[in-house]
Structures are given as structure tokens and as C-alpha cells.
Symmetry: C2
Subunit: 222 residues, 2 copies
DNA sequence: CGTTAATTTGAGACCATTCAATTTCGGTGG
DNA sequence: CCACCGAAATTGAATGGTCTCAAATTAACG
């Protein structure tokens, strides 16, 4: 994007909104009126099934758009929640839409953003569909680490990790109990250390091996 | 889209290509040069994990674009295969790209198409992550039926169903053996009848109940 | 420092897998 | 038209990964 594009994007009218931990930002079935950019904190998407179980569909880090798709598709098809206390920028659908109409580079950037989103969903289908518990969790940890590094939010082997074990389980299709046992097994093997909301990856190569992690699907080069 | 838009789309230079059953259309890691529209037959996307297991990520029916995302993201992040013998129209990336630049309605239609795709991936994460075998398979059958009806390819309760049980299993994260037993259980309960590549849905309401199926995620109204 | 949330542990049950063998089906050639 | 073939579907039995339920321990927070 050119400087002019960036100025136009930053110049959009927006308002700031804060959410508490676990606060609902968008509910499934609601009409969408605004577009949300995450400024600080973490967020996640989820859907509930008929017996009340929850499946987390993605996690989001600062700098990501949370609901471009909702704003085009009129009605939200999933729930969007803050993971930690967080702050977002709200932009009106119409203002963003006008900007996309007049600025090809911005249009292209948002389009790519949503295509990468889509690629991540595909990898998650594979993760919950065809990997065992250890691999699922290892893969999730690798993905979060790779994305945080790529976004410049973290750079070493130590990360803020605000997920509860129940949330890790809901993202990987496991129960909280089995998630706990699996994390212990990863710790015992010296792959990670995890406590008090801090994750250290002690052996990146081994963790990617266990998690069958190949970051091509993140399309970091685009 | 206006008539003029439609004419412009149909007027794009394209070539026809045939694939045999299980033929590879795109391989993971390959650079993308063309954009593929499925004309006849069925196709599916899949990824392979390190132990050789396969996860099917989506099925596609005639009239759907198969790889808009690949053509924007440069390198394919998954494999694309024909399910049955099929015919596709190949359009050059650049020609389609030019058309999208000049025609907002076409751009919007393709954008919506890929957003619906994305919504379907999200639902599949939920399906394999948080539903048991009966619900997973019932849900898959409901989705295929709903999409075929919506596309006008089928209209009653009887459908061409060219999937093997192994493929149903690979789409739902189950083994072929357990898929077989689960299909028998759905038959025994009078929900479906399935043989020789023909699926009859005998009790739609009961099947949607078992599969926890709500078609909002298909966004058929857009 | 008290209270609630989150993590951890144990034991038993169950859903789905594995492995192997058998039967059925669709297609092909004699 | 029938015999044959490989692929797909089906069956059985044993194994195992994950779940369930419940209780205990530890950590987070006002």
C-alpha cells in the first residue's frame, strides 16, 4: 500500500471500544453494522453446538480485522468474543466499503487478509480432523507463536499466553481434562514450559515435528 | 450482476479441461497460474498429514469456482482433486484480475463467493471438532443436499452421491470402518437410504436434528 | 486473606480405531 | 450372457485414545 492509501485508511472515522475478558463483540445471527479492528488484547471466534459444547474457530491478535466477512455477509454466522480485556477500533461498514471502492490497494489488502483467514480455517479442519491430541495442541502452539512473531508482537521463544486450558481444548476439539494431560506430556518431553499465562517454547524443531507444523498455510510472504 | 457484467464474464477467454476420477487439479506448494470453474462433475479439496492420513476440507459442485484463493495467494496451500470425472473452465489469472478491477459487481460476487467458502470451513471445524460420528455424517449429508438444491442441481429428496465411504470418513475425520457402521445406524433409524451412488433423505427434519444442521452458515440469501 | 476460577489427579466407561477377513458390487472381456 | 476381477462395503473382535465424573490442589484476584 502507498503512503496515500495508508493515510486514507488511518483517516477513516472510527471510534474506540473496550471489552472485558470474555465479552461478546458479535453474536451469531445478528446483523452486522460495523467493522472491527483489534488494537490491544486478544479475541477469538466460536460457535456453539446443540448440546452446549463450544468450538473455538480462530484466535486473533492485535492488528487484525475481526469481521470483514460479517460486514459483507449481512448476518453473522459465528460468535466473536474477547479473550482478554481488549480495545478495538470500530469503522462503519459504509465508510470502509467506499474506501475499498476507490482504492484498489486497500481492497487488495483486505481481500488477501480474508484469504489468509480462510487458509487458517482449512488447516484447523485438518488439525481437529486428522491429528491426535498431542499433535493438535503442538500445532496450535506453533501457529500462535508463528503469528505473534510475524506480527512483531513477540520475537523470542517466550510468549504471553492468555488461554485457559479449557479454551485450548475448545480450539482443538478436546476436553479440558485431556488438554491438561497432553500439555503435561509436552512439558515432560521438554518441548514447552507453560505457567501463569506464559509459554516458552523450549524446542521449536521438536514441537513443529510433533505438531506436523508447516507454516506455508499462513502465507506470511504475501 | 447486470447483463453487461454477465456478458463480460462469459466473454473471458477460457479453455476446457477434463479430469479423470481422482485426478489432481492443483497440488499443494504449486504456484497458481489459472483460475478454475467447475462445469460438470464434482471436486474436493484435501490436505495430507505427516502420517499419510488425508483430511478432505470441502466438496464442490458444478458452477463453483475452485481456486480463487490460490490465484491471489500465489502458492497453493492445499490439494484440489476431482471426485468424479469432471470438466472445468480455465481462465487466466490476469484476465480475471483485470475484469475484477474494472467491474465492481463481478468483484463483489467473487468476494462473496469466497466469504461463503470461508463460512463453510468454519462450520467444518465445528463439525469435526465437537460432534460425534452420527452428527458429523448427518451434517455432511444435509450440507450437500442443501447446496445441491440451492444450486438447482437437485430438487427432491434423492441425490447423486458419488462419495465412497472412505471419502465420507476423510471429510468427517472418521475411519472408513466407523463411517460404514454409522451410515448403517442412520439407515436403520429410517433417516436415509444410500446405495449405488444414490442418496435418499427419508426424514429431512430428523436428519437435520441429528446433524445439528442450521443452514444459516451457507448464506443462501446473498 | 478469603473466594472463585483454573489446574491437576484418579478410575472407570465408551466411542472410535485397528487389523483382518468376508461379502457385495460395478465393470470388463471372453 | 456369464465368469472374472478389483474396488467398495461389510462384519467381527480386540485395542486404545479420549471422555466422564468427581475430588483435590493450586493459582488468581479483589
Amino acid at each position: 500500500m502507498s503512503d496515500e492509501d495508508k493515510r486514507a485508511l488511518i483517516g477513516l472515522p472510527w471510534s474506540r471500544k473496550n471489552y472485558p475478558r470474555d465479552g461478546y463483540m458479535v453474536r451469531e445471527g445478528e446483523p452486522a453494522t460495523v467493522c472491527t479492528l483489534l488494537i490491544t488484547g486478544f479475541a477469538f471466534r466460536q460457535k456453539l453446538v446443540s448440546d452446549g459444547a463450544r468450538q473455538i474457530i480462530s484466535f486473533h491478535i492485535p492488528g487484525e480485522f475481526l469481521d470483514i466477512q460479517n460486514s459483507m455477509l449481512e448476518v453473522a454466522d459465528h460468535n466473536l468474543q474477547s479473550l482478554t480485556r481488549s480495545t478495538v477500533a470500530l469503522v462503519s461498514r459504509n465508510a470502509l466499503s467506499d474506501l475499498m471502492a476507490s482504492r484498489p490497494a486497500i481492497r487488495r489488502a483486505l481481500w488477501l487478509d480474508s484469504l489468509v483467514d480462510s487458509s487458517i480455517f482449512r488447516e484447523w479442519v485438518v488439525n481437529v480432523g486428522r491429528r491426535d491430541a498431542r499433535a493438535r495442541i503442538a500445532h496450535l502452539l506453533c501457529e500462535l507463536a508463528a503469528r505473534l512473531r510475524s506480527a512483531g508482537i513477540a520475537d523470542g521463544e517466550i510468549f504471553d499466553f492468555p488461554l485457559t486450558q479449557e479454551q485450548v481444548g475448545d480450539a482443538t476439539g478436546l476436553t479440558a481434562v485431556h488438554t491438561n494431560r497432553t500439555l503435561q506430556s509436552l512439558r515432560k518431553d521438554g518441548l514447552i514450559s507453560l505457567s501463569s499465562n506464559r509459554l516458552s517454547i523450549l524446542d521449536w524443531d521438536a514441537l513443529t515435528e510433533v505438531g506436523d507444523f508447516n507454516e506455508r498455510y499462513l502465507h506470511h510472504s504475501v
